[in-house]
Subunit: 473 residues, 2 copies
């Protein structure tokens, strides 16, 4: 048995035990552990990691002394016990993200403002390119990354990955009863690296873009895959479960299938990581109780309607991508991308970025990662700063053009509108100061005066401008 | 009796006869005429024009010798007869506009491409301003003008007009049984001036923006008003009937009321001028048989849906206005206005312009006319040129981005999309040449090469560009 003596709150504690290699341990061996804090018991499933090594991972949410005892149907794996100390989280560890009304908050109380991007198949690229993607993310404004577990077969995505979740290859076929630890070790290393950078890993469990058979596994294999995924990855505090990208394009799956996957993961996941499902055209019913937030593909101008329809955070993970490819979904300008971020924000939603510029080697950020070529990321960083400023957790819409954080901050975005005058509907109390914000130029210019109630301001009469009011304290 | 000897085809022939002034001729006297060409008889209602003068107007659609005999319940007005010769139309007279599928065509076969604008209350302004509006229209790209018969009470529209359709004033009250010939003479002079400039007059019969009582007349008065309007104005070939602006904001009227107005005018109008009704939020059912075309307020991106829902021309008379007022509907940029025109056009619809820039004397084009201040009109003129080029009557949509006139001309507009490459789906035969069009810069640049079938072109990778293919003959 191998296990550390202490672990951060919301960190990953791992126990490994040697055991049988014979037969098919993925099928034959049950392994896990019970974690105890005082009288509380948390049973957690482990997993077989190849070469006779069995592991169980646990992310404690409470500081103090924890005990554990392994469980198994194989005597040599069962009954191993020990203790560890859960210590205070480090400075960059805010815990997992939780839903709070239409918004998000880290477990330690820090607000989380979702600013996502998408690199669907970045972990299926050569190691060097994966490293480059991480390097890019280090200085990018994104705090969530959508990524697939299964490799992707699609335009600009024809290269065969080195490793697969299952043992085998396209040529030789896959052994659907055996997971490939090499693949999973890389995946979880990448998830961990994202975690260290403060980036949520929105793990896409199924998707339709497939030439290997991953989109059409049998139910038994699917369930085993989901359990294995949860056992290996749920302990990472930055994991979110995205049940599908474009679920509605997987014609072989019924709505009952999707309900089943949600229920299974909801039952298995000790941490209740966030759960969503992403549409192409038709929405899944986000009101179903196992859905934690709305993951939407559409123009963010629909945000008011989606908020009305369902009282959960609206995350527009695809609003079309900045780029220049022939496909409609992948060729909006940086200006339009920035505009869509603002539209979603003042409607009280959250928007995601993606980038699809043609590349001589077909390295498009949206799928493979690499480097960013577009002009929207610095503007998205600027918007993230706007999101983060001001005390309450998120912007709530107050008017067609405006949103507020309590009565502390009012943010108006005029988009296509270019009023030369505008009457803002502020509270009669307190008194506010105003700023003109240019989301493209990334400038914030104070507007002289103090404002309250029906406050009329002269504005530049150009489109794509914003105005922010701050409570004068 | 006074009547000319000849009149152009689709021109206005008018007979006037002296008669009684006593009592209330508007209520007491029936007057009209029967117009005959060979064995065909067209009965037409006349109207009282004040000062003992009765008139009947007729627009003949057939060249040759016509006869007429007046009819009346007053002996001195009845039985006056005469003849006139209907001669060939002059060079700028193409006859009235008719609907042809999703498009329009003049009676002489010339295609009519609707490029509208709006000056709701221009005839209720001082004469000098009305003249200035006409002067502006003379060099503007518009071939349709939306205008109200009743004056308008609304923001930026507070001035009292000099004349009203009914005798009286706001202070003294109106005599709802007497029309005011002075008002109607000016209105029909303006309609005639528009006709001479080739501009269709989309006459708005009712609207909600009222402080005089015109939006809440009783049924009898409404019917008399509609009959009088038809009698005076239907003979002008450029008249279109718009039953309302924003009918759905007239809370005192039911859907049955609107049906009634349509039916009444349909029964009374000898020429069956075009009939539509304009919404604020909720569409009237444009499929009702008396509606000739769809007059819509909404983003033109809905055009494909509206075409699917109803097989009649889509005219987006309000897509928001170029301007800078505080109201959402009146503050888009010229660029956005031009974009919306193109979006509607390649979807097989027609779009209308309006302009609302703040003005020190509140002279905003959308309501009062005057001069144009915006940057969209020259670009709209450029698009009108694109519409007019190529032989068949109108553009039919062929793809998300594209429309065609038969197989002669294909027009693609990419809008927000900025593909650096695009594969066009042209017919295998014939062969085409290509042009890059910049709708804002108003440039048309030949692209070298000949194209057919699945034709891939490199494009500049900027938004708001168009590509046109011409059949090589």
């Amino acid at each position: 048995m191998d296990a550390p003596r202490e672990v951060e709150r919301w960190g990953v504690f791992e126990v490994s035990v040697g055991g049988p290699e014979a037969g098919n341990p993925f099928l034959d061996v049950a392994f896990g552990a019970e974690f105890r804090y005082k009288h509380r018991v948390v049973p957690v499933d482990g997993f077989y990691d190849g070469n006779g090594v069995y592991r169980v991972r646990f992310s404690p949410d409470t500081e103090g002394e924890w005990r554990f005892t392994t469980t198994s149907n194989v005597p040599e794996l069962a009954g191993k016990s020990g203790t560890f100390r859960c210590i205070s989280p480090g400075p960059n560890n805010h815990g997992p993200v939780r839903v709070e009304g239409y918004h998000f908050r880290y477990a330690d109380g820090t607000p989380y403002y979702q600013v996502g991007t998408t690199c669907y198949a970045w972990i299926h690229q050569p190691a060097e390119l994966q490293e480059q993607t991480l390097e890019t993310l280090r200085s990018a404004p994104f705090n969530k990354l959508r990524m697939c577990i299964f490799p992707k077969h699609y335009i600009y995505n024809q290269n065969e990955p080195d490793h697969f979740p299952f043992v085998g290859s396209k040529e030789k076929g896959f052994d659907w009863t055996r997971f490939n630890p090499e693949f999973w070790k890389n995946l979880e290393r990448r998830v961990e690296q994202l975690m260290e950078m403060g980036i949520q890993a929105d793990l896409i469990l199924f998707h339709p873009y497939d030439r290997w058979g991953f989109a059409s596994m049998d139910r038994e294999t699917e369930d085993r895959y989901l359990r294995y995924t949860v056992a290996r990855l749920a302990a990472f505090r930055n994991v979110w479960w995205s049940f599908a990208n474009e679920y509605d394009l997987m014609r072989n799956k019924t709505m009952a299938d999707w309900d089943h996957y949600f229920l299974l993961v909801q039952q298995e996941d000790p941490y209740q990581r966030l759960r969503s499902i992403h549409n192409c055209r038709t929405f899944y019913d986000h009101n179903k109780p196992w859905v934690t937030h709305q993951s939407i593909q559409a123009d963010p101008s629909g945000t008011p309607e989606w908020r009305r329809n369902c009282p959960k955070p609206v995350v527009v993970d695809e609003c079309r991508y900045e780029g220049n490819i022939p496909r409609h979904w992948g060729n909006i300008s940086a200006r339009e991308m920035v505009h869509r971020f603002w539209v979603g924000t003042v409607a009280g939603g959250y928007v995601g970025h993606g980038e699809t510029y043609l590349h001589p080697e077909d390295i498009l950020w949206w799928s493979k990662g690499g480097v960013l070529h577009g002009e929207s990321p610095p503007r998205i960083a600027f918007l993230r700063r706007i999101l983060e400023e001001g005390p309450p957790v998120g912007f709530e819409p107050v008017a067609r053009e405006g949103a507020a954080k309590g009565d502390e901050v009012f943010l108006y975005y005029f988009g296509l509108s270019q009023p030369a005058r505008f009457t803002f509907n502020l509270p009669e109390e307190p008194v506010y100061r105003a700023e003109l914000i240019d989301p493209w130029e990334m400038t914030i210019t104070p507007i002289p005066g103090k404002y309250r109630g029906q406050a009329e301001l002269s504005l530049p009469g150009r489109p794509y401008l914003a105005v922010r009011f701050w409570k004068i304290t």
